[in-house]
Amino acid sequence: MAICPAGHSSTATDYCDVCGARIDGAASAPSASVPSGSAPVTSHLGTPAPGTPASGVRAAGEACPDCGAPRTGRFCEDCGYDYAVGGGRPTPRPPEAAPPPSAPAPPPPPAAGDPDEEDPVTRDWAPPKAPPPEPPATDWAAVVIADREYYDRVVTEDEDFTFPPYSPSRRIPLSGEQVLIGRRSASRGITPEIDLSEPPADPGVSHTHAVLLAKPDGSWTLVDPGSTNGTTVNEGDTPIPVNVEVPLRDGDRVHVGVWTTITLRRLR
């Protein structure tokens, strides 16, 4: 045990455990390295100094941690702070920010990513020919795919829908006031712009399944007028309400039938 010039008792005999001051008689430390294997929690580079209480020849010039007055001796002349014991009146500790937790955190809740959980469907790619980024939202396209993830999520094992082995994606430019999503019917005179009776025909889509409506500001909304199996958006579980306009943004995904995902793309 050594006593530092400020009067702290220190296990380390070279520099004070508390204030870091070099202990009288200790040699200045090299900025040294300790070889592996030896594990000195304390260093023994110097000889213990005799117990010199702090009356601060070396320590003068220090500022009082409590009031900032220059140090003249063991006690602060202004506030009586005791340099030897670090007190005299409550000494403020340097504020320590709450540390982030270090060691392994507890196991995460079985949330996102659980394979047993439902299977969100998305498509994150822009068309191969990347459109120029700039101007207003006037030109849109719908990219139609047979979406395995969506299929896996909504189709149960006892249902007899086979996911199409070959299904190229289709890209349909959006134009006019409205774009119908559905299945073509000659007898009823229904010719949807996004016709899901084209192979691979999606068996879960109604003739008039949903409608995309052009808005004056150049955006599009989605309406399900009452399809048999409903319409979901962006991996949602709950079908959108019937006859309610749902605003769509670039990249939003509309799911219909048993495997169809339609991604809206703004081209420029």
């Binding site: 300790v34 594990a39 220090e62 991996e235």
Partner: protein, 430 residues
């Protein structure tokens, strides 16, 4: 622990401060020597999870997916026998590719072959939710809490199908559970977003501009992970009463601010996790503010220890001594100066590129010009050459530059990604 390498700590600093001076800077070099475990085939256990982005965009162009598969297969070949591993496919959710069950499996000839076959069947569909991928990886590593835990995450896109908060939460959960090297392929991913993941998980970040280059990169990352000899090394920094530890930054091989990662040990010490360690050397810049002392007085401004669990495997002293000899106190340690410049270089590049994106061309020109000058002075040739693709350099010494109009997105991203990569001091300087 008999396989543990020999660690050493070296401190470079000028300990002399002028009267009234209170800011102490030092470069701490942590180095290890000794045979990595891979060479001996014994010792520390290791776990590896390879996460491959299989979002729909990986098919555009198609060679992204095929190259990623080849790269992951090369990584699997690099795993030494007995390493516990798994392959995860990432889209809007995370899925086990191999093994099928949610667990790690020891590598041997048979499991490696099965894993490679499973990889060859991967297809690209769906979105990007990296938080879910990291969460699954975290669960896989949870059963292997000891030893090296390393993941590779490859993505080609933005984290579109999760909120930033979801990703942040997943990253926070993963901190300390495994080290994760992150790679972006193509030009549709977000540098800042992936940097956040790599940085929090103590991994490297790089951009692989051409899919064909993935294979060599994956092999190198896996080899490096296999070469780690100890997991979970920490730098413990003690500072005296009334001192303030202003920052702790890794400055080699890349700039990484560790200040916020502190875990308090006691009133005066805190641990900064450094991840796994092999046969390598890293430099750290620490800055401590101490109460000004009297001329002639010397103190320990920081006591730096390398911790392996509770064991101190190396230590070094950062000192402060007050002097009235100006020749002593005004000398700047060349290593401190060098790394201060490297950190400034990284910052100027990042700020400059952001300003350029925001259309603030004056700031962009000034910052990137300053970066050119810093790269030139410090001999950081790699960064200097990347900068040359974004600006036309009139005078590298003063940093007089003009912004280029026709900048390739890949060049810009690659400069951003590598902005934090540093070089050692030039011979004779440090």
């Amino acid at each position: 622990m008999s396989e543990q390498p020999d660690f050493s700590i070296r401190i470079d600093q000028n300990k002399f401060l002028p009267q009234g001076g209170h800011e102490v800077h030092a470069i701490v070099t942590v180095e290890s020597a000794g045979a990595p475990v891979a060479a001996t085939g014994t010792g520390t256990s290791a776990a590896e999870v390879i996460i491959i982005d299989t979002s729909g965009s990986m098919d555009y162009p198609r060679n992204k997916m095929t190259s990623a598969i080849k790269a992951a297969q090369a990584a699997v070949d690099t795993l030494r026998d007995g390493v516990n591993f798994a392959i995860v496919s990432g889209s809007s959710r995370a899925t086990m590719v191999y093994p099928r069950a949610e667990e790690l499996i020891p590598a041997d000839a048979h499991t490696r072959a099965e894993a490679k076959a499973a990889l060859s069947r991967l297809t690209a569909t769906g979105g990007t939710a990296m938080g879910a991928w990291l969460t699954l990886a975290g669960r896989l590593f949870a059963r292997h809490p000891d030893g090296i835990r390393h993941a590779i995450l490859l993505t080609d896109g933005k984290n579109q199908h999760e909120s930033p908060e979801q990703l942040d939460a997943a990253v926070a959960q993963a901190v300390g559970r495994f080290v994760c090297d992150c790679r972006g392929v193509g030009t549709d991913w977000e540098v800042a977003e992936l940097r956040k993941v790599a940085s929090a998980l103590l991994g490297s970040l790089d951009m692989v501009a051409s899919p064909e280059a993935l294979e060599a990169d994956f092999r190198a990352m896996t080899e490096a992970a296999m070469g780690k000899a100890v997991a979970d090394v920490a730098l413990r920094v003690w500072t005296p009463q009334y001192a303030k530890l202003r920052f702790v930054k890794q400055v080699l091989p890349s700039v990484e601010d560790l200040t916020g990662r502190r875990a308090d040990v006691d009133e005066r010490s805190g641990d900064y996790p450094l991840g796994a360690w092999g046969s390598e050397s890293r430099d750290y810049h620490i800055c401590v503010e101490v109460p000004a002392g009297e001329v002639g007085r010397e103190m320990r401004a920081a006591w730096v220890k390398l911790m392996l669990g509770d064991q101190v495997v190396a230590s070094g002293n950062v000192l402060a001594e007050w002097t009235d000899d100006e020749a002593q106190s005004t000398r700047i340690n060349p290593k401190v100066a060098h790394y201060t410049g490297q950190a400034e270089l990284a910052e100027n590049i990042q700020v400059g590129l952001q300003a350029r994106k925001d259309g603030d061309l004056d700031t962009a020109t000034a910052r990137l010009g300053r970066a050119v000058a810093l790269a030139h002075q410090s001999g950081n040739e790699a960064i200097a050459s990347l900068l040359g693709k974004v600006v036309d350099v009139d005078d590298p010494a003063t940093g007089r530059v003009r912004l280029r109009k026709d900048v390739d997105k890949a060049d810009e991203m690659s400069l951003d990604t590598r902005s934090t990569k540093t070089v050692r001091t030039r011979r004779g300087e440090g």
